[in-house]
């Protein structure tokens, strides 16, 4: 594995420079966290397909590329560039360009005193003690090399703190923008979202590209939900088709919390979406809902790791996939029920539509149950657009493209139905609508593809 060794050396260079530069932290606890994480990354290197967690996703295209950290202030983005990407009615909009917070492009609105939203960099500089109890305490850097790498390079991202009892009606929108990359570039956004007891809020993390190039975005979010908190988190991936996007959401659920994680993977080239909730408090409920839509040679991998650590908790996983062209989707649903987590009720469903002969889905449930009084179910389906339904709609006068879009929308609508009504859901609905219209227009793929398949991710890079 010479490639692995080479690339760790290139990261070593980046890390040494990162530590020397102003970006490196002077806080001993943070410095130790980063050094430990980097050491762990050097030990393990990038995962291979021999690793069970990465069986269906080959990241050698990432491992082989020498990425360097984005230079500061290089990315040129204006307010008007971002206009089409804004979410209407957001409580706050934070924009990050190539990993750096941009106050000039952000709008923090007028937030109640009980809510503080600022860049992680600013939070580290001004009030590090508010972070220390949580930052890096939840994410598993031992098991996951990408989380270790992200932790090593903690610099910027968002810090949200919602004080006990506070309610935010409108979503917080975090927009991560990649600009044109001349040479391969990496960013490691890091977010810490703390919702104290009895709070209610919605956060949208959205990743987009303004200009192409080889970009590796490796984000990690730690979300802590205090007792009785109701939180919705949206991860929306809309980057260019040549982007690498690895994202990890680690959720810590307190007693009687209700957290919903919604993922929409519409863009990106090689995408890995890790969702790792730990139901730590009794009676916690977690919804893990997702839609992934791929075409071309997109690779969209969803890795769910749902940990039941307390009794009387319920988790619901619903992922729908629509794959066209040579797209490859993965759904890996791991449920771990700890010894004391009696009366666990865990459910998992993955439904897939394959629109072409060359599209592929790997779906895998993985249940590890150490308690003896639990209810765990899982199911997966793979199908095509029903010709009967298509003909039925067309026989009533609806043209083929609209009929296909209708049927795709009906399939995707299951995911929308699980989102709470509001601005975040409206935003998601609009994006899905637009995206499925393009997919429906590219059909009918009834004509079988001819010639050689385009390169896949294993051969790129």
């Amino acid at each position: 594995m010479t490639t692995a060794i080479q690339n760790v050396e290139s990261y070593l260079e980046s890390f040494t420079e990162f530590e020397k530069s102003s970006s490196g932290s002077n806080l001993p606890w943070l410095r130790r966290l980063q050094e430990d994480a980097f050491a762990r990354f050097c030990q393990t290197g990038f995962p291979t397909t021999r690793d069970e967690d990465w069986r269906f996703t080959n990241v050698s295209a990432i491992a082989r590329t020498a990425f360097s950290l984005a230079e500061k202030g290089k990315g040129r983005v204006s307010d008007s560039d971002l206009k089409p990407w804004r979410v209407e009615d957001a409580a706050a909009q934070l924009v990050f360009v190539d990993g750096q917070f941009r106050g000039d492009l952000s709008a923090l609105g007028t937030l109640p005193a009980s809510v503080s939203i600022l860049s992680l960099k600013e939070a580290i500089a001004k009030n590090p003690s508010a972070l220390e109890a949580h930052l890096g305490r939840h994410l598993d850097i031992q098991r996951d090399a990408f989380s270790a790498l992200n932790t090593a390079f903690i610099e910027d991202g968002v810090f949200v703190h919602v004080a006990r009892g506070a309610t935010l009606d409108q979503p917080i929108h975090l927009l991560f923008v990649s600009t044109t990359a001349g040479s391969p570039r990496m960013v490691h956004p890091r977010n810490l979202l703390i919702f104290e007891k009895e709070t209610q809020a919605t956060v949208i993390e959205e990743y987009i590209s303004l200009g192409g190039g080889t970009v590796f975005c490796n984000s990690a979010t730690e979300l802590i939900a205090g007792d009785n908190a109701h939180v919705s988190h949206y991860m929306i991936e809309r980057e260019d088709k040549d982007a690498f996007n690895i994202s990890t959401l680690r959720v810590q659920l307190g007693r009687s919390t209700n957290v919903a994680s919604h993922s929409l993977l519409l863009g990106g080239g090689l995408v890995r979406n890790n969702v790792h909730p730990v139901l730590a408090g009794e009676g916690a409920e977690c919804l893990i809902n997702g839609l992934f839509v791929g075409n071309g040679k997109q690779h969209l991998d969803n890795y769910m790791h749902v940990e039941h650590a307390s009794p009387h908790c319920a988790s619901r996983q619903f992922y729908n996939g629509i794959l066209d062209g040579h797209a490859h989707g993965v759904f890996h649903g791991r449920i771990v029920v700890h010894k004391d987590a009696q009366k666990t009720d865990a459910k998992q469903t993955n439904r897939n539509l394959l629109l072409s002969d060359d599209a592929q889905i790997d779906t895998k449930p993985q249940l590890e149950i150490y308690a003896d009084d639990v209810k765990c179910t899982h199911g997966a389906t793979i199908g095509q657009i029903e010709e009967n339904a298509l003909f039925y709609l067309r026989s009533r006068g609806i043209d083929e493209v609209s009929a296909r879009r209708c049927l795709l929308m009906a399939f995707a609508g299951e995911c929308l139905d699980r989102m709470k009504p509001g601005a975040a859901r409206d935003h998601s609905e609009r994006l899905i609508h637009e995206h499925l219209l393009t997919i429906a227009n590219q059909l009918p793929a009834a004509t079988p593809s001819k010639g050689k398949a385009p390169r896949n991710w294993e051969e790129v890079g």
């Binding site: 026989s395 009533r396 006068g397 609806i398 609209s402 209708c406 009906a410």
Partner: protein, 256 residues
């Protein structure tokens, strides 16, 4: 000019010839019935008229309102005024009945150069037609045919026909699976749509439906050919004697 002219129609399904030379002319205002034993090709004819692409026309011609129907996609045929009431209506979870029907109506209106109808105008009309078919208002909010009983599905087909107002309605075994009450409701719905501008082709295995929807002409289809045509009395004769004699008769000339 006749509304529908079928000339020497030959159709293959999955490599087998199902229709072996059909000639049939239907004028506006007429109700024709096609009867025949199982496997005679009745449903194939209905599907071809609705332009199902899996059915391969190997010879012949169909003119609809003077235009070549075989050149039309299913949606174009529908916009031109062909409507098929399905033998097995399809359940489509996730698409609301109202949204579906309004989309269909507007697609057809747009094709005909009419203004699209907004929800405010559509809903009262929809409710009115629901009453005609004695259907529950709650169907407005349900997904297309999802969880409907067999009778509800068939009524829903006629409801769609009432809203889309086709020139030619093809009813494919609309009576099968209906109890007598549902049959009466469906038939009265169909009868209310009879008009001098609209033709109907009622495909059925049993004569029962024809007690309620009295046709002007009855054709008997056996082994892919129309072997006999007549008035409504032919249906009664078939009910009496069954299909055996007519099948035997159809085969007879070949064996001589």
């Amino acid at each position: 000019m006749s509304l529908l002219e079928i000339k020497n129609l030959h159709v293959n399904v999955a490599g087998h010839e199902i229709l072996k030379g059909i000639d049939l002319t239907i004028n506006a205002g007429e109700v024709h019935s096609i009867m025949g034993p199982n496997g005679s090709g009745k449903s194939t004819l209905a599907q071809v008229l609705a332009r199902r692409e899996a059915y391969q026309v190997t010879d012949g011609q169909i003119l609809f309102d003077g235009k070549d129907l075989l050149e039309m996609k299913p949606e174009v045929a529908a916009c031109e005024g062909v409507f098929l009431a399905f033998q097995y209506p399809v359940e489509i979870p996730g698409i609301g009945n109202t949204y579906f029907l309004r989309s269909a109506l507007n697609a057809i209106r747009k094709y005909r150069g009419l203004e699209e109808m907004d929800a405010m105008d559509f809903l009262p009309m929809f409710r009115e037609k629901l009453k005609l078919l004695e259907m529950d208002d709650k169907l407005i909010n349900r997904s297309v045919n999802e969880g409907f009983s067999g009778g509800e599905k068939k009524r829903n087909e006629i409801l769609q026909m009432a809203i889309l107002e086709p020139k030619l309605a093809v009813l494919d075994e609309t009576d099968s699976g209906l109890d007598i009450d549902a049959l009466r409701i469906v038939a009265s719905g169909v009868n209310s749509l009879r008009s001098k501008d609209r033709a109907m082709l009622v495909v059925t295995h049993y004569q029962r439906l024809l007690n309620y929807i009295v046709p002007d002409f009855v054709h008997v289809l056996v082994d892919g050919r129309i072997v006999r045509s007549g008035g409504p009395e032919l249906a009664l004769e078939l009910e009496d004697k069954g299909y055996g004699w007519i099948e035997a008769e159809a085969k007879a000339p070949a064996s001589v």
